[in-house]
């Protein structure tokens, strides 16, 4: 792997061009560009995409922001669709209908709706079958494209349009599903969880490993949404930093079944630091609601402890 430098990395030609219609301050396109930068320039790629903000904003007929071949099918089948493309590649190679040097990589993007929920079966099937592809979830913790409805990735107590905060409601009741560990249980060669750190080294390294490890790989990238989370759009990087420093969104990877932490905060920050700048958690800071923060903190602690245990075993 080459020496990491953000400057060198940014000099690579962009494979997702400007001019798409995603919101300012959106994490999804940052995630896509970071992942695609890990592709070797000489490699071709076919990009898959579940229906969602990214798809409707980047490929609106007759314009496409994608420099590589790209396929969007429907909401719940990005895994299966790309598994078909990857199979076609192997057959065409074998039958000599693609040149020796024509190397393709297969990367599909889905939001948490298309990945954790409606596309979960299709993803699980594609991973279990062992297709040589990367599934990237840009996890913004709700169905943002349809207007901020809860998903199984939505954190507890978040105010969404289907878990609205009200007189009888503190927001979402359930905790978020731990998808990365479910994918790790598929015993695939590579699973990682990441987000945007200041030097983008973590996401770059993980994308590179995911793409260039043979077999199925899954990347879970926390990609904040300024509309759904209600933060100031210039604060994207700060929100990500706080998610990592509070251990709400730990950075880890699972390589061939071996769990390892990619980063351990020197001093774990209290969860309030992550929750406070976000409008979706505003009600948690009302006097008398301290117990909501306590409960949230408890879940974060338990999960962090469990992750440390999984990583220490190795």
């Amino acid at each position: 792997m080459s020496e990491h430098s953000l400057k060198n990395m940014m000099e690579k030609p962009e494979r997702l061009t400007p001019g798409h219609r995603m919101c300012a301050g959106c994490g999804a396109t940052v995630a896509v560009r970071a992942v695609l930068r890990a592709l070797k320039e000489e490699d071709h790629a076919v990009i898959g995409n579940a229906t969602g903000c990214l798809e409707v904003s980047s490929f609106m007929y007759p314009y496409s922001a994608w420099k590589d071949s790209y396929i969007h099918n429907t909401f719940e089948n990005a895994g299966a669709t790309l598994s078909g493309v990857e199979t076609a590649y192997r057959v065409l190679k074998r039958k000599g209908r693609l040149g020796e040097k024509d190397s393709y990589k297969f990367i599909t993007f889905g939001g948490d709706g298309g990945t954790y929920d409606i596309g979960f079966q299709s993803l699980s099937g594609a991973m279990e079958r062992g297709h040589d592809m990367v599934y990237v979830c840009y996890d913004n913790g709700a169905y943002m494209n349809t207007g901020i409805q809860r998903s199984s990735a939505t954190p507890m107590f978040a105010d969404t349009t289907t878990t609205p905060v009200g007189k009888d409601s503190d927001g979402k009741v359930q905790c978020r599903k731990d998808l990365a560990s479910i994918l790790a249980s598929h015993n695939i060669p590579y699973v990682a969880q990441t987000t945007f750190t200041q030097d983008f080294k973590d996401i770059h390294r993980k994308a590179e490993r995911a793409i260039y490890t043979e077999g199925p790989a899954f990347l879970n990238i926390m990609a904040p949404c300024p509309r759904g989370w209600r933060y100031d759009m210039s604060d994207l990087m700060e929100i990500c930093r706080l998610a990592v420093e509070t251990c709400y969104w730990p950075l880890f990877e699972v390589r061939n079944g071996k769990w390892s932490l990619s980063y351990e905060p020197k001093k774990k920050l209290p969860i309030e630091d992550f929750l406070r700048p976000q409008g979706r958690f505003k009600h948690m800071f009302k006097p008398g609601n301290e117990y909501l923060i306590e409960q949230f903190q408890k879940v974060v602690d338990e999960r962090w402890e469990n992750l440390q245990f999984l990583c220490s075993k190795m």
Partner: protein
């Protein structure tokens, strides 16, 4: 040039699996479902024994089968799948995508009723449920037709004037599992007939990337639908051309429908699939008794040959329109709607009676056909009133 013919005995599923081996598509994603399960099983065995160079994707559902087929075909690989019944229903969303992305995927459908109640036997509810998805639909009477139609499916689907997916249908169990005589072709002439797949635009085309499956605003989406409809209309000539070409190869030509003793017929039964054989048997008996009966066996349901059917029926006194499917509209199944509409538009003023028969595997017998022709005679000759929509072979309340 006519090819050598091989005499065999096979079930409909075996015949289609044999044709798949001969065509040797690049990719086949499939999920098992009765009564089409044997097809992916047989193909997997051919692959396991090194008898064909195809990749089988053992997907986790029919929705994923069609999703993977879309990915594979868009990537530039010739792709097919097989299913039945609720499997096709689960694919429904993806059927629309296959057609609207103009991907010439071939699906072999072994017709089975939809749930509920859950039942594994034949009717056409599955295929008819997908009638507005933009797929070409061709129905087969027996194992021979299932084999012949399957081979013709690829050149029809992949024709540059068409570029639409094709569904080849045969009746579950009745055709798929019953062993009958069949005449097969050798591998080489089949492969030559089908040719190589050379798409114009595809994902795995180095240096020429393409984006598939756009979001389309109202400014463009309607034109895309119209282009699909135009292709469906154009496909009729291609289906006829391929049907004729296949005749030169095999000695068996195919049209949009088959007319059996209709030329001078007073009474015609319009029917699809295996029950056409039963209808022909009854017609032979009736002809001996002096009744001028005939059968119009519909082969191509999409595109719907409305004018051709109207013309074929124009000389008779009454037609029985047979649906192996309900529409729950109070007036009969899909054929009972589309055929009279064609008659009306073509100013063909004959009597019609709509029948629903054979749902969920209910037997359809020669006596049933004779009874239906008796209805038509009673209506036109004997001055009796016959309900315009009837069920065939229902149990009485006492039974």
């Amino acid at each position: 040039m006519s090819a050598k013919r091989i005499k065999e005995r096979m079930s409909g599923n075996e015949a289609v699996a044999y044709a798949i081996r001969q065509v040797e598509p690049d990719v086949m994603p499939a999920f098992p479902i009765t009564p089409s399960t044997e097809i992916p099983q047989m193909v997997s065995t051919f692959i396991a024994n090194g008898q064909m160079n195809t990749d089988f994707i053992p997907v986790e559902s029919e929705h994923s089968a069609m999703s993977a087929a879309i990915g594979s075909e868009a990537a530039g690989a010739r792709t097919m799948t097989a299913t039945s019944s609720v499997g096709l229903a689960l694919m429904w969303e993806e059927l629309l995508l296959a057609a609207s992305n103009r991907l010439p995927i071939v699906l072999t459908l072994v017709n089975r009723t939809l749930s509920g109640p859950i039942n594994i036997n034949c009717d056409h509810t599955d295929g008819m449920g997908a009638r507005d998805t933009g797929w070409i639909q061709i129905y087969s009477e027996n194992n021979q037709e299932a084999y012949d139609n399957y081979i013709q499916a690829f050149p029809i689907a992949e024709d540059p004037e068409v570029h639409l997916p094709v569904m080849i249908c045969q009746d579950g169990f009745i055709t798929s599992h019953a062993v009958e005589n069949i005449e097969l072709l050798e591998d080489a002439p089949v492969r030559e007939f089908v040719g190589t797949y050379e798409p114009e635009e595809f994902l795995l085309n180095p240096g020429n990337p393409v984006s598939v499956g756009p979001y389309s605003v109202s400014n463009y989406a309607m034109e895309a639908r119209k282009a699909q409809e135009d292709a469906m209309v154009r496909s009729k000539d291609v289906i006829l051309k391929i049907g004729e070409k296949f005749g030169t190869l095999s000695g068996r030509s195919y049209g949009l429908f088959e007319e059996y003793k209709t030329e001078d017929a007073d009474y015609i039964m319009v029917i699809m699939g295996s029950a056409a054989g039963t209808a022909k048997e009854a017609v032979d008996e009736l002809r001996e008794e002096g009744v001028k009966a005939g059968v119009l066996k519909l082969r191509v349901f999409r595109p719907f040959p409305e004018d051709e059917i109207a013309k074929a029926l124009s000389g008779c006194k009454a037609a029985a329109i047979m649906d192996r499917c309900e529409s729950y509209n109070g007036h009969g199944g899909p054929l009972a709607q589309e055929i009279p509409a064609g008659l009306f538009r073509n100013h063909v003023n004959i009597e019609t009676v709509s029948y629903v028969y054979g749902l969920a595997g209910r037997d359809f017998r020669v006596e049933d056909v004779r009874g239906i022709f008796r209805d038509l005679q009673d209506l036109t000759e004997n001055g009796k009133t016959i309900e315009q929509f009837r069920y065939v072979g229902l149990r009485s309340k006492q039974e």
